[in-house]
């Protein structure tokens, strides 16, 4: 078991004195690994607070490069890193925040062929992606690996947060949404507006859920948090049902209904476009 270095007692002092964290919690954080898929609007704030809290190993998967239009919300990137892979740019910023942790940037696209291998080394997966197919791929892979998936999403003034595949009974993304919506209905990455601070709130909450999972502070009850910055009240929590026995991904053998189609995973933003013909369109 790793121990804290002397200066870590000073660095993490304010969380070391928390009931529920303490020295054992800090050692757990230091020994744990979290992978953040997507170093964009959600990934940046999530990475920031995971790094600051002392999570020992942070993987960052993103194959995009930084553009000027990202800087309005992706606060780990700067004008200096325009054109650099986001995974690298975010890793540099994360190491500035905490030079004592290990950051592993991965600048390849997450694909059905490499997802299991890329995600396997990590204790917790954060879904900070910006598109439906990768969300299904991440959920199905998290089920296969038995890894909890902290899923965030944000559009316009709205956000959503959920921990999928939580413990023995927690539902997966596919339990709630068995079939993906048609790609032509969800808008491409470019079209949808987003206020930066909304991604900030959700990404922050994702880091927090990861920290709760690692330190044992999660209550084990799956719920969906819905955020709407312009509504009153802005937050709603919805208790979720258990894992669905008929779920094509996480259901029990013999009860599964439907199959997981590889077409569910097509279309990473900026990647291959969906096969419209195959969808009868």
């Amino acid at each position: 078991m790793s121990q804290l270095r002397l200066e870590d007692y000073r660095r993490y002092g304010r969380q070391l004195i928390l009931d529920g964290i303490g020295l054992p919690g800090q050692v757990k954080l230091q020994s744990s690994s979290v992978v953040v898929v997507g170093a964009g609007g959600l990934g940046c704030p999530a990475i920031q607070y995971l790094a600051a809290a002392g999570v020992g190993t942070i993987g960052i998967i993103d194959h995009d490069v930084v553009e000027l239009s990202n800087l309005q919300r992706q606060i780990l990137h700067t004008e200096e890193t325009i054109g650099v892979h986001k995974a690298i740019s975010a890793a540099l910023s994360a190491q500035r925040i905490n030079p004592n942790i290990k950051v592993e940037p991965i600048s390849s696209a997450l694909l059905p062929e490499n997802a299991l291998e890329l995600l396997k080394p990590y204790d917790v997966i954060l879904d900070c992606t910006d598109n439906v197919p990768t969300r299904y791929l991440l959920s199905d892979t998290a089920v296969a690996l038995g890894t909890p998936l902290v899923s965030g999403a944000a559009q316009k003034f709205d956000g959503q947060l959920c921990v999928y595949n939580l413990g023995k009974d927690g539902p997966c993304y596919r339990c709630l949404f068995p079939r993906p919506p048609a790609p032509e209905l969800t808008g491409s990455c470019e079209e949808v507006g987003i206020l930066g601070a909304v991604t900030g709130v959700i990404g922050n909450l994702q880091a927090l859920e990861a920290i709760k999972l690692i330190t044992g502070l999660n209550d084990g009850k799956a719920s969906l948090l819905i955020y709407s910055a312009l509504s009153s009240p802005p937050f709603r929590s919805i208790r979720l049902r258990s894992r669905k026995p008929t779920c094509a991904a996480c259901g029990s053998e013999g009860n599964k209904v439907g199959t997981i189609s590889s077409i569910d995973y097509i279309t990473f933003c900026g990647g291959p476009r969906p096969d419209w013909e195959a969808r009868g369109l």
């Binding site: 910006d130 439906v132 965030g152 709205d158 956000g159 919506p181």
Partner: protein, 108 residues
């Protein structure tokens, strides 16, 4: 008998319903004397409240993939139930019900 219910649209679905997230509605009785259920409500909303792009709300006789329907989600108590637990579209509405339609977000 008509029913008074609340309907809430979230995750961008309000854009299909005159950009209004919350609606207090009086749903008329069914014409065939059967109890008004969720499926009846969904089609009634299409015919009477939907302002645009039906395909973003209904597909194959139910809400399109990516929409979650909750009945009487009670905040705080966390005892809301999503509609699959209630027999999906067969859930019979009663006066005072609050039905929430949530579209899953995918952006990041």
């Amino acid at each position: 008998m008509s029913l008074n219910i609340s309907v809430v649209f979230q995750g961008g679905l309000d854009n299909l319903f005159s950009k209004k997230p919350s609606h207090k509605l009086t749903i008329p009785a069914t014409s065939d004397g059967k109890p008004a259920n969720l499926t009846y409500l969904i089609f009634w909303l299409r015919d009477n409240l939907l302002s645009e792009r039906e395909e973003l709300f209904i597909q194959d006789g139910t809400v399109r993939p990516g929409i979650l329907v909750l009945v009487n989600e009670v905040e705080g108590s966390g005892d809301g139930t999503d509609w699959e637990l209630l027999g999906e579209g067969d859930y019979e509405l009663k006066s005072g019900d609050e039905i929430i339609f949530i579209s899953t977000l995918h952006g990041g």
